[in-house]
Amino acid sequence: MYHYTEFDADFLAQRNAQFRAQVERRIDGSLTEDEFKPLRLMNGLYLQLHAYMLRVAIPYGTLNSRQMDQLAMIAEKWDKGYGHFTTRQNIQYNWPELRDVPDMLDALAEVNMHAIQTSGNTIRNVTADHFAGAAADEVADPRPVAELIRQWSTDHPEFQFLPRKFKVAVTGAAADRAVIKAHDIGLRIVERDGAIGYEVIVGGGLGRTPMIGKVLYDFVAEEDLLPTLEAIVSVYNLLGRRDNKYKARIKITVHENGIDDIRARVDERYALIRPQFTGVDQQMLARIKADFAAPEFKVGDEAPYRSAYQNDAMFRSWADTNLSAHRAPGYAIVSISLKAHGKTPGDASARQMRLMAALARRYGHDELRISHEQNVILPHVHKSDLPSVFSALRAEGLGTANIGLISDIIACPGMDYCALATARSIPIAQEIATRFDELKLEHDVGPLKIKISGCINACGHHHVGHIGILGLDRAGVENYQITLGGDGTEDAAIGTRAGPGFSADEIIPAVERLVLAYLDLRSEPAETFLQTYRRLGMAPFKAALYPDAETKDRADAA
């Protein structure tokens, strides 16, 4: 875990005092809303449909138990007893009152957390693989470099007013669990001739014009990374379109100028600024790396695990879906599902947060991660402790065995909370999960990612869902459009629109038809939904979605 310095603490204390004064001046009327709005957004405070919303950064998704406990305390004291974990490794509180927010920020600062740059046209919270530091397939832990980027980008004077928001994601493994190809900059740690470096991908993004990022450099040496990033953001800052908000993201800049032109400009800028990076950043990185040293893994007897696995069907089912391979012998990575059937994806109550914190303390070397899929991870649990962890989780409604399955849905807040939404997302996710739980088909269907957004901004990643659902407003009625074949991994792909949208009543049966069609179409049980779609294309799925279309076409032709 990164150790925050006195400098960090002073910086947060000053920022919070400044914001407290701004809130007071807003309340006493000396600031108008127009004057106050940019100030509150700089501190992660939005005004949404029913209330304010405070967005707190969880840098690269990493937390310790004390921080998780504090998030629980804040949820209880100043919100309605829960928080919403998002696809950007943030937590959002949906019900704070304006005058409490400075106290909330102070409480966050006590555990080195904040809401800075969780809004605005700046470099946002740096995200990373949620299995960081634990995954068996990892080349190197992505968090030290993510922390370096966080320090470099926080309050960076040149990058506070970019053409648009800017998102960086890092993975340290070949398997991409951080959706790096859908970020403004995606970094993948690679090894070449024994040296660590980075593959640098730029111009990915979702939203209105979804795009898969392109490789800018296939290998940047460790000491050259920060100047390279500085050069990229600097080129974007100059070149990015400020005339049109919808064309302002770097994905458009890359698209309009071409990756080769961008590379030439970045090279030029890089040559100019490289000498300013005298190696201090590498000293910092070395210190940060030491902070992220792996915990001392224990040696234990795996017999309790094997016995639970053999004798307890519930445990076995959970272990099969919710555990991932750990780099240390005898250990496993535990994904805790925040997707109990029928519940709001990504929400955790204060009690649940406290339990997860307690489990991390007792069984998990005090480490937690938040995944972009809106779940919580205990990255280091010894297998002998898994039966205890599972029974504790079950007791608090956190034992759902559905990671990667059809009910492990990403859903943005949609029109239940979000002022920009064009339709609701949450009830659709709840109904799909409930329906497939009733059908008892979930485990038979296997890996399948459904992602739902309540508007074209795509906060719910619907473009990279195997089944993506986009909520729209069609003449004052909620309407849902389906895309198929999206993929957020190293084989990233943007989904294809299947056809006309469905009403709120029709969307659940439509998804059901789609999934039942897949069960018929797959060549063998091991062929996943995505593989079947890639093999057969849209046609058979379209036929399942629109069973009346063919007869209708014929009738129209007649």
Partner: protein, 103 residues
């Protein structure tokens, strides 16, 4: 020809809590059914100016479309419907406030 003016209510968020609020003839309410229905365009314009001149308590004022049944305003668009009732996943916001007031 200008479109005929359709009934509206004056709505906004409360500065301190963020709650959805509606203008009545005498002040503000949390309940759509208590809102003043504006059927005259000139009145509506005046109400908007009035709402916008209360920056110390009111944020983001605008006129929302309604239909009137038995003298009570009802939202015409689902967005206003959700604003009037609160989120669908929890008994929070408007629903909770309604329960509290009943007891």
């Amino acid at each position: 020809m200008p479109k005929p003016f359709t009934p509206k209510v004056m709505t906004a968020n409360a500065l301190l809590e963020g709650d959805v609020i509606y203008m009545t003839a005498t002040g503000w309410t949390r309940h759509l059914e208590e809102a003043e229905v504006l059927t005259d365009e000139a009145d509506a314009d005046l109400r908007l100016i009035e709402a916008q001149s209360q920056p110390g308590s009111v944020v983001g004022a605008y006129l929302a479309e309604v239909t009137v049944q038995d003298g009570v305003p009802h939202p015409t668009h689902f967005r206003e419907d959700f604003r009037a009732t609160g989120p669908s996943n929890y008994h929070h916001g408007k629903q909770a406030a309604a329960t509290e007031e009943r007891f």
